[in-house]
Structure formats: structure tokens, C-alpha cells
Amino acid sequence: MGVTASAPAPEDVVIMLRDVVKEYPGDPPTRVLHGVDLVVRQGELLAIVGPSGSGKSTLLHIMGTLDRPTSGEVHIAGYDVARLADRQLSSLRSREIGFVFQQFFLLPGMSAADNVADGLLYTGRRLRDRRARAREALVRVGLGHRLDYNTEKLSGGERQRVAIARALVGEPSVVLADEPTGNLDSRSGDALVELLHELNDDGSTIVVITHDHDIAGSLRRQVAMRDGLIEADSTREARDLRDSGGALRDAAR
């Protein structure tokens, strides 16, 4: 998979970053991303892995259009982010991007189904429609028996599944998951990764941001980041080949 993409973007490209630089103001300004190129195609399940401070969270924010790059191009689902106003970015997020956060961010005092239905709150769909889709999404993540449970009564693993259902309910072009297993015990974490694989098999495009090399290694593609740059971009097949060849590079530092 090429690191540089040639314009114009092909039809199946969901995320395209070209020479993305992000600086935070200060004296001197802090440069967090040093020119990142990345292409994510439809149907991919990839990990962006790196230690804290490597710039992966900033990259997630830029891919999620929650923040804009200082320079460089960002195309999400075919839209050039630089050409969209903030209002339109909101609309883009509501339709094309699903978010999963480490802390789940479920709203208290609401049922699982209502939390998931809120994933469609700003799309302009009617409540009845939103609820119906929310039920379907909860069934997809294996929580068909927890529809009307208050989310405070659910386990951590179940809560994160609710959050994933909320991210999926609008059938976005891409789901961005920020350390989705970070607040889960290892068993729930493994089950969650398995769920991500299943959802990907069904066609969802998923980007997982993590510092956990075990999780990253289990995904089909792994983008390693260090100091604001992409250090390595490899498929599992290539890594397996390399490992079996004994030419082990410490990709899992």
C-alpha cells in the first residue's frame, strides 16, 4: 500500500492525508505532526500505533475533522476539509465519521438505545427512525438484550459496545476508535478487538488508535508513528513473512 497518494483520490479512498503538518502556537511553536501522508481505503481495519507524544491523538483529531492541520491536505469521504466551513465539518462528522473514545462518553440517565440513537441526533432524522436504527446497531454489536438498560448498569465492555454501536449507527464512511480498549480489562479488550474484526468483515472501515502493540499487531494493517512521523506502514501478511524469515525488526517496541 503506497504511502503517497496520487491525486485525484480514487473512489474507494476514505481518508487521504497529504503532507499534513500540525503546529500548536507558542514560542517557539510546537510541531506535533511533521508532514504525514496516509491513505485509508474502504473496508480497511488498521491500527495507528505509537507511544504517547508520537502525535497519534492529534492525527486522530485531524482525521476526525475535530481539528484542522496547519498545512497539508485532508480529504475525508471525498471532501476536501480545507474547503469546508466549521458548520459543514459538523455535518461531515454527523454523516461520515463515527467516533469511539477510551472513556466511552455515554450520556448518563439514558438507555443504551437512546445513547446509540443520539449518534444520529444531528443528522436531521426523525426520532422513530433513529430508535429503529439504534436497535439494529445494538443487535449488531451483540447487545440486543440490553436495549433499554440504563448505561450505568452495564459493564465496561458492554458500555464500549454501546459506544461502538453509536459510532456505527449512521453507517459512516469510517469509524475512528481512540484507545477503545484502554479502560477495559484484557478479556473485555480481546472481545472488543474481535468485535472490531467482525464489523470490519461486514464492511466497516475502522481506524484504531492505540499504544498497545498486541492489539495493533492483531489488525490487518499497522501504521507505526514516532515523533510526528509515520515510521512504518505494514500489513500483517508482510510482518508474518518477515517474522517467519527471522528478520525480525523490532516493530513492537
Partner: protein
């Protein structure tokens, strides 16, 4: 976050579009939030923090209740006084002897004063009351010092009309009986004598002879001193009880438009020799003074209510600011789900409005209830001014809007990446 000029209407059309049926590159419909959803979203913050929400709404409720109750009670009181004034008229003048002294003698009105006063042009009715030096007893066997403070007054028969009095029981004096030993009791006098009914020709021992009670009066609003009096005809009072011919008090009804003019000439007309020994009063002044006094109190209490409302508003602003700080991650989440800045600010503003509206409604109901109970206890007609009710809710909403504006703006300004950053 850098600002970008909005591009033309059709956005980011990628190459190769049209080959597939995906929505890619189509025009982006704006994010939307239905009003019904807005209500739900705004209320969820309150529902999940009930105690805090109720307490801050209570602040508004107390302020509104105070204002509505004050307005309601003062309106009821005014309505009641105006009703009384309307019935009693403002054109009654009372003329009595008083003021300057000559030696040790109490000043008196000249015998001719009533006739003279009747000649003033705009004077429409004149009647007089004279005190009689006699006692009223229930029986001739009762000790003569047990008068119960009841005085005897000699009157002319027109007095009832002039004072707009009403009989509670029996009848008033008429011309044919003015010279007969009959008596009409004031409300207090009847109560003290233990007479509630005149039906069976009950008699009292008055000034050494039996008088038949023919009537009992309702209280006189304009001449309360008659309430504790036993009223007899002037003729018999002069003939049998030695009453003075000179009137003690003269009541005048004048043309309502010329009350002041009449008032100015009364003293000279009634007692040309000693005009300074004539006192003129206007009983409706007292009622009007009562209305004015209650107005002053109304303003004071309204001010206090406004202060309470203001404090309530500060409470709401405070709760909303805290809420915005606490719910950073919710704000971040909503932005990630596609909420615009405007959606976020409208959500928090609506929450403040909802809080204050709840407080306002509760306050209006509480205030109306207080008014009703107070009015009922006073025996007044219950008047709850619609202006006060609508104004109460409107004031609450206005306070809520002002209180919610700053927190809402702050919530909207929060960058999504900052909002999502934890700890």
C-alpha cells in the same frame, strides 16, 4: 482552529463520482436538530441532576411567587377599596364643631347651621346627627352604669340615604315614626345588647322609657361611630330626652365635581361668627389614603421580589457555568457527533430557559395560591391579575435567557479537541 471561507454551494466533488451509488461528494446537508429533540436534549441535563435543578429553579420560583402574590394582594385590596368607594361615593363631607376654644366651653355648631349649609348651591343632601345624653339598657332593672359604651344619637330620617347605610334586620326610621319611642341599633350596639332579631317587638330601656327596636344596621363604612349607637328620631329626642336643637354632626352630599369648592365655603356658612370652630372632613379620603398606603407597600415588596428574582437568576447562571465545566466531555462528544457550535449554545441556553420557566411556573402558581388564600381570609373577592401571571413567567424567562447566555456562549466556544481531552 483556522477559519476558512465557506466554499461554493457544491462541495468537494471527487473525481470519478457518479460511477457508484455512494453519497460521496454529494452536497452536504447541514447538521440539524429538531425542536422536539432540542427540548429532550435540554431537559436531560436537568433530569440527571434533579436536586441541583430543583434548587436553582426554586430561587426563581420564590422571586416570582413574591412578586405575583404582592401584585395579586394589592390588586385585590385595591379592587375591594374601589368597590367600597364606588358604593359609598367620594362626595360626602362631614361638618363638626371643633378647632378653636372659647373659654371652657366646647365649641358647638349654631342651630341654624344645617339650614345654612342646605343653601350652598351644589349641596344635594344634608342630614345631621345630635348626641343625646341618655343611656341604653337591656331592661329597666339593669344597673344604669352598664351602658356597654353605647351612645344615643338623634338623627333625621334622610341620614340612611346620605350615608348609604343598610339595615341588617328590620327597618330604618321613617317620618311617621320619628316622634315615637322607636330605636334603630348600630351593628356593634346590637351585639352588645344581645339583640340579633327585631321580629318580636323587643324593647330597650332608653333614657328612662321603653323604646321598641325596629331595626339593626350593617356597619356604616363612612361613619363608624354610628355603629356603637342607638339611633332615635330627632323629634322625640328633643321632646322627651332634652336633646339640643343644634346639630352635632352634619353630613353633606355635594355635586361630585364641586366637592372642593363646597369644602372651601362650609366653615363660613355653618358658623359665620366663628368659622375656625368648624371642622370639615371627607371620609373617602381615609379610604383613598388606605389605597395609597397599600400602593407604597406594593412597591416595596415588588422591589424585594425583584431582588429575590435577581438572586435566583444569579443562581441559575452559577449552576449553568458549573454545568458547562462539568460537561466538557459531553460537549466534545456532541461536537464529534456533528453538533455545530450553535447547537451546543442553543442546548445550554434552552436548559437555562427550561430551568427558569419551571421556576417561573411554580412561582406563578404559588403566588396565585398565596393571593387566593389571603383574599379568602380577608373575605375579599379573589383577584389574581392576569398581567401578573403572564408577567411572572415572562420575567422568569427573561432572567433565564440572561443567565444562560454567558454559559451557553462559553460552551459553544470550547474547541472540540479541548473538550474531549481528559484530565
Amino acid at each position: 482552529m483556522s477559519d476558512v471561507t465557506p466554499p461554493p454551494a457544491v462541495l468537494g466533488t471527487p473525481a470519478g463520482d457518479g460511477a457508484t451509488a455512494t453519497s460521496r461528494g454529494a452536497r452536504l446537508a447541514p447538521s440539524a436538530l429538531h425542536p422536539a429533540d432540542l427540548f429532550r436534549v435540554a431537559s436531560i441535563g436537568l433530569r440527571s441532576r434533579r436536586l441541583r435543578a430543583s434548587l436553582s429553579a426554586l430561587g426563581i420560583a420564590i422571586g416570582i411567587a413574591a412578586m405575583v402574590a404582592v401584585l395579586g394582594i394589592s390588586e385585590s385590596s385595591k379592587a375591594n377599596l374601589l368597590q367600597a368607594l364606588d358604593k359609598l361615593g367620594t362626595n360626602l363631607l362631614v361638618v363638626e364643631a371643633g378647632g378653636g376654644f372659647i373659654g371652657n366651653e366646647d365649641p358647638v355648631l349654631p342651630t341654624t347651621s344645617e339650614t345654612m349649609l342646605r343653601r350652598i348651591g351644589p349641596v344635594e343632601e344634608v342630614s345631621s346627627v345630635t348626641s343625646v345624653d341618655a343611656t341604653v339598657l337591656r331592661t329597666d332593672l339593669a344597673p344604669s352604669d352598664q351602658t356597654g359604651g353605647i351612645t344615643v344619637k338623634a338623627v333625621d330620617t334622610q341620614l340612611l340615604d346620605t350615608l348609604v347605610g343598610e339595615t341588617a334586620n328590620g327597618e330604618w326610621l321613617d317620618e311617621s315614626r320619628a316622634g315615637l319611642p322607636v330605636v334603630v341599633l348600630g351593628s356593634v350596639a346590637a351585639e352588645r345588647l344581645g339583640i340579633a332579631d327585631v321580629g318580636d317587638g323587643v324593647q330597650v330601656w332608653l333614657g328612662g322609657q321603653w323604646f321598641t327596636v325596629i331595626g339593626i344596621m350593617e356597619p356604616f363604612e363612612l361613619a363608624p361611630d354610628l355603629d356603637s349607637s342607638a339611633v332615635i328620631g330627632r323629634d322625640i329626642a328633643i321632646a322627651d330626652l332634652g336633646a339640643a336643637e343644634a346639630p352635632g354632626t352634619v353630613y353633606l352630599r355635594t355635586d361630585p365635581d364641586q366637592v372642593d369648592d363646597v369644602q372651601a365655603v362650609i366653615a363660613l356658612t355653618a358658623n359665620p361668627e366663628n368659622p375656625d370652630q368648624v371642622e370639615v372632613t371627607r371620609p373617602s379620603d381615609a379610604i383613598e389614603a388606605r389605597a395609597a398606603a397599600s400602593n407604597a407597600f406594593t412597591a416595596l415588596f415588588l422591589g424585594l421580589g425583584a431582588v429575590a428574582l435577581l438572586v435566583g437568576g444569579v443562581g441559575i447562571a452559577n449552576v449553568m457555568v458549573i454545568s458547562v465545566l462539568e460537561r466538557r466531555s459531553e460537549i466534545g462528544l456532541r461536537r464529534a457527533l456533528g453538533a455545530t457550535r450553535r447547537h451546543v449554545s442553543v442546548q445550554f441556553l434552552s436548559e437555562a430557559l427550561l430551568l427558569s420557566a419551571a421556576g417561573g411556573l411554580a412561582g406563578v402558581m404559588l403566588g396565585a395560591a398565596v393571593t387566593a388564600v389571603y383574599d379568602a381570609a380577608r373575605g375579599w373577592e379573589i383577584v389574581v391579575p392576569v398581567v401578573g401571571l403572564a408577567g411572572g413567567v415572562a420575567a422568569a424567562l427573561a432572567i433565564g435567557a440572561v443567565a444562560g447566555l454567558y454559559p451557553a456562549t462559553r460552551a459553544a466556544r470550547l474547541a472540540p479537541t479541548d473538550a474531549l481531552r481528559t484530565v
